[in-house]
């Protein structure tokens, strides 16, 4: 069996919160050696964010942190210590890639900008991610993906027409960007390996996220279109929505199925299923063609909701899929762990963590036939690998390590 595809790729990782650590988790899952630098003096945001194992908080107990930091080595280095920059330059000599998502200017303030890094290692690939990119009048604007989804145009197009817009769940843009980031980092590594050239990559989370909305921006630019809130409606499908289903056996009532019909065949198959349950309203001329269905869509949605509400959502999904109608249950987070397809793909795996016990972490959505990823080491305890990483991986001598330790730089 072949080894891991990124074996031998050496990464010095300053990334924190979600977007950065998720990016470097792709690298660590596929075999890169990722040295994650933190400081016990200022445990990073995610170490203090829930959920916590057993509901009990602690810097080594966050499931949010543990998911994104599997397979990485944890180093504690106090970046405000006078010996820290020299140590980092020493690690940068070892590294192929340095990753960071601080506010622009932070690395430079430490004397660790691209110029300094490439002086000690001209091949270095430095990956910098920030909310709005480096340079420009707003480079220091603080933010999280949770609020950036508004500037990236998502919030404006989610919601019901009779209410205001709502946000996409979570720090949405944080989860759009890592896939672009991994592609760009490995492209730069490819060039580095071929020619020895280093690169400084500068990713603006806003700019990257806007690529998911390219057609919408073109539509505004050439047609002057401003989108409106449409609930779950779709300009070229009818019906198109989420409809209620019966509560589960355990009493969970928030149960829904998504159904869509994009062409005549899908519509006719759906109509026939509904009609076969004795609901003849669905065969009315008001719904015969796409154009007339669009004109009576409220009424249509009402009939469908009255039909779905007496069904178990999984039973209905299987029945509609069997006749070629796009339909899917609305999975909640518990359902994701029980979803037969996600189980088939082994989406979650459980790692045994020394403080948390077993915790779930997710595999990448990409399965490689020859060199599949592997998640086999739980996220590090704060600073657990400092000595091992500096001595055995970076190659510091026992004396050098001792001196830094005694000087208080490794906290």
């Amino acid at each position: 069996m072949a080894g891991l595809p990124l074996e031998g790729l050496k990464v010095l990782d300053f990334c924190w919160v979600a977007v950065g650590p998720m990016t470097t988790k792709y690298l660590s899952e596929y075999g890169a050696t990722v040295l994650r630098v933190e400081s016990a003096k200022r445990p990073e945001t995610l170490r203090r964010a829930g959920p916590f194992a057993g509901g009990e908080s602690g810097v080594n107990r966050s499931g949010y942190f543990a998911n994104y930091n599997a397979n990485k080595y944890g180093l504690s280095i106090d970046m405000s210590h006078p010996q820290a920059p020299e140590l980092i330059l020493r690690i940068a000599e070892w590294a192929d890639v340095v990753t960071e998502n601080f506010t622009p200017g932070t690395l430079e303030r430490w004397g660790l900008g691209y110029d300094e890094l490439s002086r000690v290692n001209p091949r270095i690939v430095l990956f910098s991610a920030s909310m709005l990119g480096r340079g420009g009048p707003m480079q220091t604007q603080p933010g999280f993906g949770a609020v950036l989804s508004s500037l990236a145009g998502y919030t404006n197009i989610i919601g019901w027409p009779d209410r205001g817009p709502v946000n996409p769940y979570g720090a949405y843009t944080d989860f759009v960007c890592p896939k672009f980031a991994v592609s760009a980092i490995l492209a730069a590594v490819d060039r580095q390996r071929a020619t020895g050239r280093g690169t400084h990559l500068d990713m603006s989370q806003l700019e990257t996220s806007l690529h998911f909305g390219g057609p919408m921006l073109l539509d505004a630019g050439v047609n002057g279109r401003e989108p409106e809130l449409v609930g779950n409606r779709h300009p070229s499908a009818s019906p198109h929505g989420a409809y209620p289903c019966v509560p589960d056996g355990n009493g969970e009532a928030d149960r829904w199925i998504a159904i869509a019909a994009f062409d005549d065949a899908q519509w006719e198959a759906l109509r026939d299923e509904i009609a076969s349950d004795g609901i003849t309203d669905i065969t009315s001329g008001e719904f015969r063609t796409f154009r007339v269905r669009k004109a009576h869509e409220d009424k249509l949605d009402g009939i469908i909701a009255n039909w779905t509400i007496s069904y178990d959502r999984h039973e209905l999904m299987r029945r509609l899929q069997a006749v070629g109608v796009p339909a899917g249950v609305v999975n909640d987070t518990r359902d994701l762990f029980e979803d037969p397809q996600l189980r088939h793909r082994e989406h979650f795996t459980w790692l045994d963590h020394p403080e948390m016990g077993p915790y779930a972490t997710d595999y990448t959505e990409t399965q490689l036939s020859l060199t599949p990823g592997r998640l086999d080491r739980p996220a590090p305890l704060l600073g657990q690998d400092t000595e091992h990483a500096l001595r055995e991986i970076v190659g510091l001598s026992a004396e050098e390590y001792r001196e830094l330790h005694d000087a208080g730089a490794l906290v």
Partner: protein
Amino acid sequence: MIPDSEYGPGLLAPYRVLDLTDGRGLLCGKMLADLGADVVQVEPPGGSPARRIGPFYKDEPGAERSLFWWAYCANKRGVTLDFSKTDGAALFRRLVGQADFLIESADPGHMASLGFGYSDLSELNPRLVMVSITAFGQDGPYADYAASDIVGMALGGFMHLTGDGDRPPLRVSMPQFYQHGSAAGAAGAMIAHTHRQLTGEGQHVDVSCQQAVARTLAHAPQYWDLEQTILRRMGAYRESAGGTFTRINWPCKDGYVNFQPGGGTAGAARSVRSMLAWMAEEGMGSPELEAVNWEELGYGTARAEIMEQTVAAVAPFFMTHTRNELAEGALERRILLFPVATPSDILAHRQLAARDYYDRVEHEDIGETVTYPGHFVKDLQDPSRVGIRQRAPRIGEHNREVLGGELGLNGRDLARLTELGVI
């Protein structure tokens, strides 16, 4: 090692990508094209079905007018080829022999039924990295399910968490499901490429869009795993833990802004303090909120009564200002606040302008210059290297260049293949 000056423009200049995807996978090849790869979009004669996806230029449908096509096929070259026909298959084999990557988004089993499954392709070219982008992956109980965007966003767990609590779950009203899988396909392609460059071994990258969406849910799945809590959609609020929540979306004078009050590091507590100071300056201060120990609250969490007090004090303040005033004030005061932007706001945004984000691309066929989202990442050693270089291809635009110039077909061959409906 080769000298960098001989490498060509862009990080992926030496590589050729065959892109067979339809509307479900176009973004994957677009990302590689943006990074400098030579991406050849292969369409069936008559054009890709993705050309029928709206919106359209001047709202008039037409194969050369799809803005979806324009957005996700820019930087690619285009050929038409029916490789289910004998003559087409022969040409296709030659293209595969020269390619480094092949990307496809057909239903599972379709490529194999044409004799072009991964095992067939790897015989033609053992170095090939083949990327397959499908809703659920190549096999498993849902592999043959019909999946549109809303179905995928439902099964991926996104919708349950998005929308108002008293209404059905919501999707984002532009396609996201296949975009997540397509972007992940590019990441997977590059991981497999890194291995290939070291060993000469190609492989098959099998992408599940459902998994890609399930990975966008932040810590919500972990809340079930570790605390047996199912987080729920709460409209303008976000449930940030069992029993604690924070308001994200707020109306203001001319629209909405996003502002996340709450404690913790990463500037969150400082952001709330700055907001309270700004309110006090304008005579709308709140001594109760100033007395809260924001620094000690966890990330994104505040108890219900603190959140209630916050809303009572902050909401009226926002109503006295426009989105723009709030965004500019937030920048000055380092507050975690962004406006809910419309597409025209985004097109006019001054940070994007300052970073030279947008690319203006000549569409000589219609006599217009069109503005495109530009670099998804900047290469600061050479900023010209990531971004839009050319508009999307017209149907068969590069047949002569690729099939003629590169595969050596002459004018008579091309005419015969056109007659046979192969190109």
